[in-house]
Subunit: 670 residues, 2 copies
């Protein structure tokens, strides 16, 4: 095997840090051209289709007992006068329906399901009937609050809900070709464009919760109507200008000073409106809002060739992934404001790490990748996907984590108020239910994140059993991935085409991988000099039946944190391939903090077909206090006797699927 | 030197754990019979007299700028109609004046200060004039809320304020012999006895914040009036009975259910009224309330010979000191409710550890000691006094910590909401200003905690330069302590008497001490068999000029925590004698979490006369990450290079006297 070596890894990163690029002709290969085949992601996508979408539909209709009520569909009926009652839930309750519909759209793409499509059409009909004559669409205001429309975009999520509906419409239109929902959101977007904009008499505002900006870019791509791109750009450019639009709103509402989000509970950092976006270089505030904003900024930089915006995105990316991201790809370490706190402040047990924020990181990473092709974006996406996002959902698809801690002591979560936001068990639904449908739409669209192409060729970002079709020089080409990823690092890529054709095949060499080997048709190729910006770029004339074999060595690794990350001092985390591992009480007994890992302890990985449907678990010799040396004393001058004790680590994402208990990612090294 | 050995230590504790005793004839030697002489405590008591009492008087009169306002004296003037305005501050603002007056009383005992006494008399005159004809005394209600008297004793602190005034009165009366304030509080106590009590028509209530119970025992001792003891016992016995008195109050006030302290914000565990006191075996709720309650319970057990109460006290003591106490003697690890959380939950950086709660532990320990003479109580008192209480005040006496963390990262305290209660710097005063005058009254009465006596002889609980007078078999005896404690463990005790007399001299052998030597008139005595329940009990016929020399070896010790205390896993704390040490950023650079202490590193203690007025500091060879091995990466598979780095530890109580910065008690051991 080639040894990429540490220097080489650093070089790849250095290259990218020096200069951000805008690769204008790189585009993702759409869902319709990718088919996921049986394997790790296939199982999860099936779960979305067969279980999560029906389950969430039941919840949205309040048909699931023993969990938080949603009221989301009922709100639409109340808005129409078909049911009586009051609006139920958060002002952004509509967005749960939109995200569900978006997941349905992705699920139906290339996969007809007439019953589900019929249901979705009924939902679209319901949505269409709620739309007001001027295009306005938001049940929170249509029910009882018509006079308050557009009076508090800082807190009331009207633009956020519109954004989600636009994303749903684009997904459903692309899946089915049916224009109805697309027409609905175009009318809505045009209505918004009549309220907000640079023209005299229009509001110089922008949303308190970013989302519509990236949605408008999607709507522009789908319709070709540049006014949607312009409106998205307007929202981005207005943000943070002085005098502050939100202060004008607050004054008009008669709010007491100091003004700020949620009636002054938060500062304007909370929604990233503290200064113009191009002056921002440290990620602050509500982490989901931040990533949705940064996603739109990357979109716009790419669309408009705006290098100042691209450079801002790069600075923010460096700050988030270099100073504010958990090893699991979770971000936003503070429960107060669901927010970024500050550099290197990543406590493991009092974290937040909202599932939606890690999903937002994936959205942003994809756009950074499209703009500035570099393996580091795929690395971060992978880190979040396989760890801090997958942890957000139970293996059976019906329970969710909103907060994703790296260390849990259940009794402490229950009894300490400062850990009250850290649930020790996944829940069936939430009062604020943003995360479950966000997972559904992400998984359902996962295959859209796997490949990109440009005039040069095709790039594989993620490894999973799948086929992809694209054409190059006028000829159709198909690639077939065959892999057991993430359980092992062997990836076979078969090339199907009719006649030989020259193109570049780019394969992301993951940042976690230090040794790899590539063969074409059985012959090893030295690809060290073919790696640029994290991708092995193999340019050749491919012939029918060519087979590439990439072998990414996947040893068990001990990860160490930068010393400035105080919470992880003296500790290591176990990682294998893209997966972070953790200790659970069920395997290792209580008081996990007592366990240490000797520096010389061998850690062995083994695929266990019986473990939660088949997973690689890791075992090794840890160290524990010998109970016989422990007395009742709370403090002592004695040294406790340590003894060897076998430990078992399991994939972090799989924790809490075997009942409640302690969990620990960062383990003391001795 | 004799080696007490670990077994011996355990034996001492075992002995006491088996059976609690009630030593009815043991009494503290009063302040009037103890004189503190120049040394560690002398300096602090002088500070109380010369700086803290005048400073706090200024604050109570709102004469100190740049700090929280008090309004406490002004409230009395408003109550009299001599000033206009509204009551300012918390409902218990009066208690700040009472605690100040109590500190004055202790300060004047055996130490005439005519100016201060005149000022105190004026305050007493002011208090007396506010007292209502029926004996009621509480400015919060007298100003504007007369109709609400005694309607919400759960939250409104009327009985708490009365308790503090009684304690002040007893102290001032004992200092000066002037009855005026004693008469005032007797009228107040009699008024309370007319409102609360077992007789028909009286309220079957008890205070939301315990305090009056222990005060009534003091009033009983001072006046000999048994009705005050009975009323204190009534409050203790009623507590936690069903139906709950507080629920009746809440219903009468029209509060929404569920009822609970602070309008249902807390459960009844908060004020220890969740069940009858004799059924309580785990410390719960607000830690100051708890210790004041337990203090009164110990008082009453001793006064009434109530073994069930004594056993309850013992169980609670075991729970607090064995499972819920920081190494610094701080207790109450949860900011929410300023409360105990649960066993072994002692986080270092998100702690509470209120100064008042550690003071409450001292009050309770003293009463346990009087009831059940055992060195473990003195050990805990000493732990709290020299660490978690002394830390509460700056060396100049004008700045205070309310919360006493064992690990501080200032940026994190400022930026993380879940650490918002942990101040990285002492403050001049507080909105809720319980702690500063509590420190003042404790220090001013410290000499009252040093000695106890019974018919057998005298017991020395604490070591400090002082003289004590007592009489035995009709003859006056004086002991003279000469020591540099806590900086070294050498204690000389000289005996002054006219003719030889037989009595027991008990010397507490601190729990931290493993090697000691005792000489009488220069001859070593083997005292191992004379130690019972933590005291070396030397019974002999003492002759004029006898000199005892106790040498308590004070090596630097590494302390380890019980493995169940997860926050301290793999860490050691440095302790020398009674003092816990800490690392500060000013000596050791930032990122203290990066520092580790090799197991074989020698730690040297040295008295540094220039360090903050003269203290023992500790130095040794620690280990740190070599900065040259640290790159920009947040996570890495590389091992960072460690290098040797001298570290300096300073007494925990002295931290934050040289500017802001990180602080750390528990250090990783490698």
């Amino acid at each position: 095997m080639n040894d990429k070596g540490n220097d080489k890894v650093k070089n790849i990163y250095k290259e990218s840090e020096d200069k951000v690029s805008i690769e204008k002709d790189l585009v993702p290969v759409g869902l319709e051209n990718v088919e996921i085949q049986p394997g790790f992601w296939f199982d999860r996508i099936q779960l979305v289709r067969d279980k999560i979408i029906p389950y969430q539909w039941s919840v949205l209709n309040d048909h699931v007992a023993r969990t938080e009520q949603s009221g989301a569909i009922r709100n639409f009926r109340i808005a129409l006068g078909e049911e009586t009652g009051q609006f139920y839930g958060r002002p952004f309750q509509d967005s749960d329906v939109a995200k569900w519909l978006e997941a349905v759209g992705y699920t139906l793409t290339g996969n007809p399901m007439p019953e589900l499509e019929k249901l979705a059409d009924q939902v679209i009909d319901l949505i269409g009937r709620v739309q007001e004559p001027d295009g306005y669409l938001d049940t929170y205001f249509t029910i009882d609050r018509r006079d308050q429309r557009w009076t508090n975009v800082r807190d009331m999520h009207e633009l956020y809900c519109a954004g989600h509906l636009i994303e749903a419409a684009v997904a459903y239109y692309q899946a089915t070709g049916k224009r109805k929902i697309l027409d609905i959101v175009c009318r809505l977007a045009d209505h918004i464009g009549s309220v907000f904009g640079p023209e005299p008499g229009k509001k110089k505002g922008y949303p308190g919760h970013e989302e519509i900006e990236l949605a408008l870019v999607k709507l522009y791509h789908t319709t070709g109507e540049k006014r949607y791109l312009d409106l998205g750009k307007f929202f981005i450019d207005e943000r943070g200008k002085l005098p502050r639009f939100f202060d004008g709103e607050a004054e008009a509402l008669g709010e007491p000073k100091p003004y700020g989000p949620t009636g002054g509970k938060y500062t304007y950092e909370y929604n990233q409106s503290h200064k113009p976006v191009r002056e921002q270089d440290v990620a602050v505030g509500h982490a989901v809002r931040a990533t949705y904003l940064y996603s739109a900024m990357a979109d716009l930089a790419r669309e408009t060739g705006d290098m100042s915006l691209a450079e801002t995105c790069q600075k923010l990316w460096k700050n988030v992934t270099g100073k504010q991201m958990y090893l699991t790809g979770s971000i936003g370490s503070s429960a107060f404001g669901e927010a970024f706190s500050f550099d290197y402040d990543l406590p493991n047990d009092t974290t937040y790490g909202e599932t939606c924020a890690a999903i937002g990181l994936v959205f942003w990473a994809q756009r950074m990748q499209q703009m500035d092709l570099n393996g580091k974006y795929g690395d971060a996406m992978e880190r979040a996907l396989y760890n801090g996002i997958l942890s957000g959902i139970s293996l059976d698809g019906t329970k969710y984590f909103y907060v994703n801690p790296l260390e849990v002591w259940p009794e402490s979560c229950e009894k300490r108020n400062d850990k009250s936001r850290v649930a020790p068990n996944r829940q069936g639904w939430f009062v604020c239910a943003c995360c479950p449908p966000n997972i559904a739409r992400l998984f359902a669209s996962f295959r859209g994140y796997m490949y990109s192409r440009n005039s040069e060729g095709i790039f594989i970002h993620h490894y999973a059993n799948s086929s992809v079709n694209f054409d190059i020089s006028g000829q159709g080409v198909a690639l077939h991935q065959n892999t057991n990823y993430p359980w092992d690092g062997n990836v076979e890529v078969g090339v199907s085409l009719e006649t030989p054709v020259e193109f570049t095949l780019g394969l992301r060499i993951p940042g976690w991988c230090r040794n790899y080997e590539l063969k074409i048709n059985g012959s090893a190729i030295d690809i060290r000099n073919m790696i640029r910006r994290g991708y092995a770029r193999i340019r050749r004339t491919w012939t029918p039946g060519d087979k590439i074999t990439l072998d990414l060595a996947m040893p068990v690794e001990r990860i160490r944190a930068n010393p400035a990350l105080r919470a992880d001092a003296g500790k290591v985390a176990i990682q294998r391939g893209p997966l972070v591992y953790c200790l659970e009480e069920i395997d290792n007994g209580p008081i996990l903090a007592d366990i240490s890992l000797p520096k010389d302890a061998l850690l062995k990985a083994r695929f266990d077909g019986d473990f939660l449907g088949g997973m690689v678990t890791i075992t090794g010799e840890g160290s524990r206090t010998d109970e016989s040396s422990v007395g009742p004393e709370l403090y002592t001058t004695s040294e406790y006797v340590r003894k060897t004790r076998d430990i078992t680590a399991v994939p972090y994402f799989a924790w809490n699927n075997r009942g409640p208990g302690e969990m620990l990612v960062w383990i003391r090294e001795t």
